[in-house]
């Protein structure tokens, strides 16, 4: 899943699909208030739904792995 697709997913889940809100891959999603840690869990659920075969363990749902669009992309690349 590449950066534009993840960005669109983040907008859909947390930003009411507003395309105008500026988001860059390095933005810390928790620090800028796009979502909280429960939001990361919600995001994981959605990723697992859209990417059949993806399994994310609860312990992997961290800001280190999923805290920005760039990190999500890298994390999915590693999985």
């Amino acid at each position: 899943m590449d950066v534009p697709v993840i960005t669109a997913l983040v907008r859909e889940l947390f930003l009411q699909n507003d395309p105008a809100i500026p988001l860059s891959p390095g933005d810390d999603l928790l620090q800028i208030g796009v979502c909280d840690s429960l939001g990361l869990v919600q995001l994981t659920t959605e990723l697992e739904r859209r990417l059949p075969g993806l399994r994310v363990h609860d312990a992997e749902v961290t800001a280190d792995n999923l805290g920005s669009i760039g990190r999500i992309s890298e994390f999915l690349g590693r999985k």
Partner: protein, 552 residues
Amino acid sequence: MTPAGARSLHRLTSEPERTVAIYLHGGSPDEPVAAARVLSRASGFAGALAGEGRPRPAAVAAICLYPGLNLHAAWLGALWAGYVPTMIAPPSPRMEPAKYAAGFRAMAGHLGADAWVLDDAAAGLLGAAAGDLGRRVLVAEAVDDAAWAGRTFSDTGDLDAIAVLQHSSGTTGLQKAIGLTSRQILAHEDAYARALDMSARDTVVSWLPLYHDMGFVACFLMPLLRGMRLVEMSPFDWVRQPLRLLDAIQQYSGTLCWLPNFAFAFLAGARERAGDRGPWDLSPIRAWTNSSAPVMASSVARFLEAYADSGVTRNQLTASYAMAENVYAVTQSQPGAFREARVDREAFSRHVLQPDPGEAGLALVSNGPALETTEVRIVTPEGADLPEGRGGEILLRGACRFVGYVGRPDLTAAAIDGGWYHTGDLGALLDGELFVTGRAKDLVIVQGRNFYPGDLEAAAAEIPGVAPGRVAAFGVSDEATGTEKLVILFERDSGSDDPESAIALRLRAHIAQTFNCAAGEVRAVPPRWLVKSTSGKVARADNRAKYLAHVH
């Protein structure tokens, strides 16, 4: 030390070998702690806090630590040393350092605490500013267990002196400190223990934060005073690994578990996600207590279905209506008596609870009958009593009701009238049970944490590009998550050239940094879209209705 302090001390000294708590840490082995160890550690904190002399009367000690032995021991040590202890939410270390320090200073200024207990990390982030928080500032890791050696604790016997403080707002809005006396705390302990038949045979399993009444009273004070064993994990660890709570209940045969409504939906979702985990043996649980206003039937139903194979039954479900102003519980339903009522939707909109057993009816959950120490009344906005089945504001009085907001006689006078505390919540009585249906006051509750719209709107107004006085913050119920979504609407300042989306993002970041809360929706609305009252204030309820009708 107050009589409440003496009771807690007696519990620990009378059974030194007993396991008081088991702390679950992320990534390291569980840590069982005996009463003797808590006693020794808490005595160390008492000594370090007392220093050479006694604290001045009613001096507040702010305990700002992450979950674990030090948090419990520091709070107890402060209580025994004669301070009025209070649990404070540690600010999010994710904040920028300057904001972190500024937020901390503002909180300290509000609270006026004489003593502070911080951890190494917080003291490090604050640097030299840590010393200015109060007269005595301790770093928990540096406190020596022997600091109290050779001294004794004495009970003042004064049941009516303020023993502890709670805060009506979860984190930052410290404007309302609720003082509770030993008399109120001990009356609550007695009545609440009877309502759920709590005893030393019970094990409470919790992830709840202690700076909030549910975690502090149900999952710390009650176990401490009743001799129940406590198994505790941090909220941070729980959000990342929600199923660990169930592992702990199975492993330690947990019997009591308090959860806010959203946690029932969240745990159900966690099981649905991790299809290969479980089942668990959750049959030792006597009561899952959903302590929320209101309790959502849909969240509870999802939880029951997700864990039916693990021994979770309807008979284990209970509900409570609780608030710091009544120490904690106002009502509590009994195991085996979890009650739902279906009512006519149209009649409900007129504040009438009219039974409608059909599918079209609105499902309401009973919060149970009032504790024996508490009386509940339902009244009209004019203060006239309403009969059963009619909705109005919930008023309460009794042996657990707080005396007032510390240092704020104005707020106290507005809240307590003729002995009755006006809760600002809406509800109705049916067959002697209270159904909490909503709120009269503009409070937003996100994942069990309370936020005052005025605080949120004031913070939003600090953002360049937001038109002064043209912000509305309110909560909107979300069935999927079982909690409220925080919505902030603003109008752009006519003098600003920034795009609305950039202002919205700045506003989000500021709310996250200031309140440690992610807004569900931040949206710019056209000029003069927001409705104002005749007095010129933004009318939140009207704007909420307009949002639901036109934007949502």
